[in-house]
């Protein structure tokens, strides 16, 4: 699903966001991307959904080399990727329904199908009673569930989550992670960037550790760690 080969992300001024990162994720994987703040987790996710281009190296997502993908082709790729952020990124003046429907409207889905799919997704995430509410009327956990609904309503094969529980209390964080785990169980490849040890402890999935923009050996229990050689990593 994801292949990264010797990827660098260099900023103006010569500092590196990522350096010589190589990584292979198979279809159906669930991977925690972890590391301290500033380790490069968000930068790596931004590369995966094409918000930035790497300075060097190659990145393939869903079989497409996004380093060579023209900007005009990027929307097609993004319709296959669901993205969740720590700050939810909801439109405050739109209802819950409208916030979720936007992904389907852009995909050109009919209005009747949009109604059916949005309703079904919101019901699945326990937001059926909130469909006409504005985001400001929702709790943090509910807002993040709306963001997840928007990311999943299009049935993307890949879900990227950047600190999805960072703004939530522990109980809500587990609630959100259960929803993401459910999406994974339905076949979605999931990459979650987090530095929350409680989540890493509770959800025993593969972990990829970043430090100062470099990919390090995985941490945590051995049976869930991913040795670099299995990930196709070549250290500089």
């Amino acid at each position: 699903m994801i292949q990264m080969y010797h990827v660098d992300l260099r900023y103006a001024g010569g500092t590196y966001g990522l350096r010589d990162v190589s990584l292979v994720l198979e279809k159906g994987d669930f991977v925690f991307l972890t590391g301290a703040s500033g380790a490069g987790k968000t930068s790596l996710l931004r590369l995966l959904f094409g918000a930035q281009k790497p300075s060097a190296g190659q990145i393939l997502v869903a079989g497409r080399n996004i380093t060579r993908l023209p900007a005009t082709q990027l929307p097609h790729l993004r319709r296959q990727i669901g993205v969740i952020f720590q700050d939810f990124k909801l439109l405050p003046e739109r209802s819950v329904f409208e916030n979720v429907a936007i992904a389907l409207e852009i995909a050109g889905v009919s209005r009747s199908e949009i109604r059916t799919r949005v309703w079904s997704m919101l019901k699945r995430l326990g937001l059926g009673h909130r469909i006409d509410h504005k985001p400001r009327m929702l709790s943090g956990g509910e807002q993040q569930r709306v963001a997840i609904a928007r990311a999943l309503v299009n049935d993307p094969p890949l879900l990227l989550a950047d600190e999805p529980t960072g703004n939530l209390d522990p109980a809500l964080a587990l609630d959100i992670m259960d929803i993401i785990a459910d999406a994974h169980a339905r076949g979605t490849t999931v990459v979650v960037a987090t530095h929350d040890p409680a989540l890493l402890e509770r959800y025993r999935h593969r972990r990829v550790v970043l430090d100062g923009g470099r990919l390090l050996s995985a941490t945590g229990p051995d049976e869930y760690s991913t040795p670099l050689r299995q990930l196709g990593v070549t250290r500089a």
């Binding site: 005009t72 790729l77 993004r78 936007i102 050109g108 299009n154």
Partner: protein, 301 residues
């Protein structure tokens, strides 16, 4: 166009309409600012249109006079043949023969100086009206030379200093018109571009989310372009309404002064064609300003 694409276009239009409705202040500010600019431009064009009418009338009075050695009555065959040869020349409009007798009659009381002469010494002449596109000194000079070369024509006069003055006035009016028009258009374009940028800034979050879920460049741009075009159209209509009201209110106040400036010709407001052109200009400006501010929109978001 496939079904999905038409749904996307409708979705983009709905998103644009929602975005504009959520920020009416930005929308109305843009309309008001553009309208003020178009009002200035419209007022200027109205003045130019009326002055052009004055100049056109002055130009229509322009005549070349070709004197002839034919001392014949107007119905003489030779006169008719010469008039026909003149009409065959390029750049000749109407040709009217003025016989010596007619000229003498036109002198009225001044004709007394001719009393006692055996024969009428006044020459016959042809008055030639050049069409509007020939009313410049160089072409008139060439036309006069051609007419003078015709057998039977002794001399051609065409009031060269007056024509050169007239041509200069027209040329200056046109250049001032083009310069001022271009300047006003640039100012208006900059205003539209700034307001669209303001709108872009106000909707940055929405655009980011649209990008995130796979909106293409046109999906983001289309609503802004249509919003710009709509703003331009509303601004032009508003400018026309204000201008019409000011025109109706101002005419009685200006009265005689305006009549003197326009040479007795009544001031006229834009016709439906000019009004439609101003509205079209507003739409084009709105669209152009929007496109200009969207050129550098980040495709990656």
């Amino acid at each position: 166009m496939d079904v999905r694409m038409s749904r996307r276009i409708r979705a983009a239009l709905r998103a644009g309409a929602r975005g504009a409705a959520e920020r009416p202040a930005v929308f109305l500010l843009a309309v008001a600012t553009m309208s003020a600019g178009l009002l200035v431009l419209g007022a200027y064009l109205l003045v130019v249109a009326n002055l052009r009418g004055v100049l056109a009338r002055a130009g229509a009075d322009l005549r070349l006079v070709a004197f002839t050695e034919l001392h014949a009555p107007a119905n003489d065959e030779r006169v008719a043949a010469l008039a026909e040869r003149m009409r065959a020349q390029e750049g000749v409009g109407e040709v009217v023969y003025v016989s010596p007798e007619r000229l003498r009659a036109d002198l009225g009381s001044d004709a007394g100086v001719l009393e006692g002469l055996e024969r009428n010494p006044l020459p016959g002449s042809f008055e030639i009206s050049p069409p509007a596109d020939v009313r410049d000194p160089a072409r008139l000079r060439a036309l006069a030379a051609k007419l003078e070369a015709l057998p039977g024509v002794t001399e051609v006069r065409w009031g060269e200093p007056w024509v050169e003055g007239y041509a200069k006035v027209v040329r200056i009016a046109e250049w001032v018109g083009v310069g001022l028009g271009a300047f006003l258009l640039m100012v208006l374009g900059a205003i539209v571009s700034s307001t669209v940028r303001l709108s872009l800034h106000a909707r940055a979050d929405e655009i980011q989310i649209q990008r995130l879920v796979g909106a293409g460049g046109w999906f983001v741009r289309l609503p802004f372009c249509l919003e710009g075009a709509l703003q331009g159209m509303l601004a032009a209509v508003l400018a026309l309404v204000v201008l019409r009201a000011a025109f109706a209110a101002g005419l009685p106040l200006l009265g005689d002064a305006l009549s003197w400036v326009l040479g007795g010709r009544p001031a006229v407001f834009f016709g439906s064609l000019e009004s439609a052109a101003l509205i079209g200009l507003g739409v084009a400006l709105g669209l152009g300003g929007a496109l200009a501010s969207l050129v550098n929109l980040d495709e990656r978001g």
